[in-house]
Each structure stands twice: as structure tokens, then as C-alpha cells.
């Protein structure tokens, strides 16, 4: 029997604007634009299909504005897609479109089934509440009530993310960029999610700190078996972390496949150009 994906996304669309009947036909990689000339709507994502299997890391690359973050935001319910379906294997036996459930259920899914790490720590953390407090917030959302257990779990997570235990009660605003990302990762892992979404989490960090975070991400996948979607415009990051990659351009997936194949033998003109410009 073929393995079922942990997350299955079909035909996801997200537009900013009122839209018209020609939006999809008049935008995309072929015309190198995501703005409909007829109605000025931005086609941030269109017709996105995606499968993520348990325990794997899948990469999403693409130039700035190609729709990567929008896709992630739709998957964690920060934004509502305009069309499309998604199924999570460990929710309603993978039979219910998670975009169509009540907002209460969506919140439950986000709190219990997902972890999110943003490029900007401001988005994922309260920088002026303690490191432990930030982790506790996520645990409480996931129905942890016992203060002692929350504290033990928070310490465990600091250890996992290689943060010094004595910083538990410190404020992330006093942390370095790399440490803030570790706190975000600790918080994202708190509820033991089967799927972690990471959007440009190493962008802007200096090279050695970036390497430590990448190493941490790999270890989390290997040791905890958590599946991840890693978004980056940096091919080196994608190459180090993933076995499979999706290439996005103008809101569309233009190519997908084995990461080494996409990079060394890209099939589409857009991917070839992208790779040449990103190497």
C-alpha cells in the first residue's frame, strides 16, 4: 500500500483584490507577473498542489514575491485561501478539508497539530515576556494546565534547542537573533506537532549562526521525526535540509521534484534562470 501524505494540499488559491474571470489566464510565469492587468488583483498563490509525508523536510524556493509566505500563512490559518482544499492525516482521518472547518476547529488545529517559525521573531514571540512565558503560552493553548509540568516541558525544550537553562526567565528582546530563533523553535515544538512550518528562519542571521540553526533543524527532524516545510530563497539552505523541493514563481509552482535534480537538472526555463541567478 502506498503511504498517505501527512498533509495534502490541492489547488490552493489566494488573491489580494476583487478578482475577475481573467486573473488566472493573464498572470503567471509565462507573462512574468502576478498582477492581473484587467483588475489589478494580486495572484499570490494559484493552483498549488503539495504533499508532505510524515517525517520529511520539503523545501519551497522562489524569488521574492513568488508566494512562498502566502502559502505558509494559508497553511497555518493566518490567512484564508480563496479556494482549495487541505487534509491532515491525523485530523478526522484525513477526510475533512481543514480550510472548511469552523474557526474554533482551525484554532485547535493550529494549537495542537502545527508549529510555526517566522523569519521575524516579533511575529512568533512576545519579546517582552519571558522565554518560559512564551513557551507556556503555546502549551496553555494546547491544553496544558499544570504549572509544574509546563515548567518542566519548557526546560526540556530549551535543552532540545540548545538554549542555556538559566535564560528561562529572561526576555527574548535581550537575546541575539540566533537565540530568538531558537526560542521560536522551542515554542513551535512545545505541543509536539507532527508538522512544522518554517519561513525564512535563517535569513538575516550571520553565517555561523545560520549554520547552527540549520543543524538544529536537521536534528529535530532526525531525532523527533517531525515533518517540516522549509521556505527559503537560499538554494544552499534548501539543498542542505531537504530531499524534495517546490519551485515557485508568480504565485505558481513551476517545478517540483528531488532537490538535487531540481538544482542540477532543472526542467523549466524559469527554474534554470532562477538557479543561474541564485547560485
Amino acid at each position: 500500500m502506498k503511504e498517505q501524505p501527512l498533509l495534502k494540499v490541492r489547488n490552493l488559491n489566494k488573491v489580494y483584490g476583487r478578482g475577475c474571470t481573467q486573473c488566472l489566464a493573464l498572470t503567471g510565469p509565462a507573462v512574468d507577473s502576478n498582477i492581473c492587468p484587467a483588475c489589478n488583483t494580486i495572484i499570490a498563490c494559484a493552483g498549488i498542489d503539495l504533499d508532505v509525508y510524515a517525517g520529511e523536510i520539503i523545501g519551497i524556493v522562489g524569488e521574492s514575491g513568488s508566494g512562498k509566505s502566502t502559502l505558509i500563512k494559508c497553511l497555518c490559518f493566518d490567512e484564508m485561501p480563496d479556494a482549495g482544499e487541505a487534509y491532515l492525516q491525523n485530523f478526522a482521518a484525513g477526510q475533512t478539508n481543514i480550510f472548511a472547518v469552523s474557526s474554533q476547529k482551525k484554532r485547535w488545529l493550529r494549537n495542537h497539530r502545527l508549529g510555526i517559525v517566522y523569519q521575524n521573531p516579533h511575529l512568533g514571540l512576545r519579546l517582552d515576556s519571558s522565554c518560559g512565558g512564551n513557551i507556556a503560552e503555546k502549551l496553555i493553548a494546547a491544553d496544558w494546565y499544570h504549572v509544574g509540568k509546563i515548567r518542566t516541558r519548557a526546560k526540556e525544550l530549551l535543552k532540545k534547542t540548545k538554549l542555556p537553562l538559566e535564560r528561562l526567565d529572561d526576555l527574548p528582546k535581550n537575546f541575539s537573533g540566533g537565540m530568538q530563533q531558537r526560542v521560536q523553535i522551542a515554542k513551535a515544538l512545545a505541543n509536539n506537532p507532527p508538522l512544522l512550518l518554517l519561513d525564512e528562519v535563517t535569513t538575516g542571521l550571520d553565517v555561523s549562526v545560520q549554520a547552527q540553526i540549520l543543524d538544529l533543524i536537521r536534528q529535530i527532524q532526525q531525532r523527533l521525526g517531525i515533518a517540516m516545510i522549509v521556505v527559503s530563497h537560499d538554494f544552499a539552505v534548501i539543498r542542505m535540509l531537504t530531499e524534495r523541493t517546490l519551485v515557485m514563481k508568480n504565485g505558481r509552482v513551476v517545478e517540483s521534484g528531488l532537490t538535487d535534480q531540481v538544482m542540477e537538472d532543472p526542467q523549466h526555463a524559469y527554474t534554470q534562470l532562477l538557479i543561474n541567478s541564485m547560485l
Binding site: 555561523s208 549554520a211 531525532r223 524534495r244 537538472d265 534554470q272 543561474n276
Partner: protein
Amino acid sequence: MRVILKVTDLCKTFTLHRLNQRKIIGCQNINFTVQQGQFIGITGKSGAGKTTVLKCIYRTYLPSSGSIVFNSALQGEIDLAQSDVQQIITVRRQEIGYIAQFLRVLPQMTALDLVVETLLAKGDHQEQAVQQARAMLRHFQIPAKLWDAYPHTFSGGEKLRLNLAQAMIKRPRLLLLDEPTAALDEQSKAPVQEMIIELKKSGTTMVGIFHDLAFMKDVVDSNYQISQGCFKEVGIA
């Protein structure tokens, strides 16, 4: 004897879209069969298409036509030229190893972790994986004081041995070697040769590219010369 790999009429053409759809022939009409435990050597001038053949088998390159039938212990006979991505990922994790000229490493991952990770990806448990990895590093004579160091500072020979340790620990059914000795001096080649002989004795099937024939004449069962993308079987000196 059991056929492990059968390549039939394999062609690979690269299309460079940005250069007016220019076509570049990587290899064409490649035919060969590898039986269990055999070592097939590929030789040829630079640019002749050797790496292309190997990368098509590993599916780093998408073959343009032809078939690459691999006898998988887990999935039965599968055509690597047609298999879906999930199948290829499984076969890579479990059964096919690729050793390139250069070691690709995470800058902050220790030598030990690098080898351990291969086993974890295969589905082994942490403790068992660490034990086996240590034994493998010892086997490939990587000094214990380097086990918790970062490989990007290793010497060429140490990197190569680590490379071999990482590829061998999963006991691949098929091992692809792309000029693994190209970056080594004469002295460092001998241990690699010994290892290959040992692997062969233990029944590993291999397809390898080497530019010096002397290096592989003791182990090679068939030698194919590739010239302008085409294969020709040549005698073993």
C-alpha cells in the same frame, strides 16, 4: 547470477531554455548490465558523459529516454528512469549509495553525526545507530579524536574515508562511485583501493568512474569506455 541493474538505451539530453533551447547531449544509447557483486568500471575523456550516466541512475538527472531497471530488495524490479519521487527517495535511503568526488556536509555537523544520520534516515534507532557509526568510523581508520569534529576542516583523505563510511554504513545494494580518488595523492589512493576490494568481497555491487585504469584493474569485472556519449565495452588490461 542475479542482475541488479540493467540499463537499456539510456539517453540524456539537456535543454538550455535560455540559450535558444540549445541541446547538449550528456549520453546516448547506453546499454549495460550489472550482476550482483560485480564491479563495472567506466572510463573516458573529460566531458564524455561518465557522470551523466551515474547521475541518471541516481536520478539527479532525469533520463530523457531509455530504462534503468534496478532490482530492489524492497520494491522488486523498478525502472529508475520512470519511478516517482517517493520511490526514488526510499531507494536512496535504503539501497543505493552515491559517492561523489567531494563530500557535501553541513558545516556544523560532526563526523559521527553525519554517519549516524544516514542510519536514522533509514529508520534505525539512535543508540544502535551511534554504535554502528562508531564501528564504521573505526573501520575506515578515521581517528577517534576527529569523531566529534566538523568534517569541513578534514584533509582530503579523511573526507573521502568519511564519505565512504557514510555511504557504506547503510550497506547499499548498489554503490555508485564518481571518481572518488580524483582529489587524492598516490599514497592516499591505496586505502581506498583496499576498501573497494573489501566491499567487493562482501558482495556489494558497484559502478565506478576512475580515470586511471591501473587503479581498478584488480577489481573491475567489465570496463566500458565512453566516448562522445556512447558506450563501448573494452578489454581489461
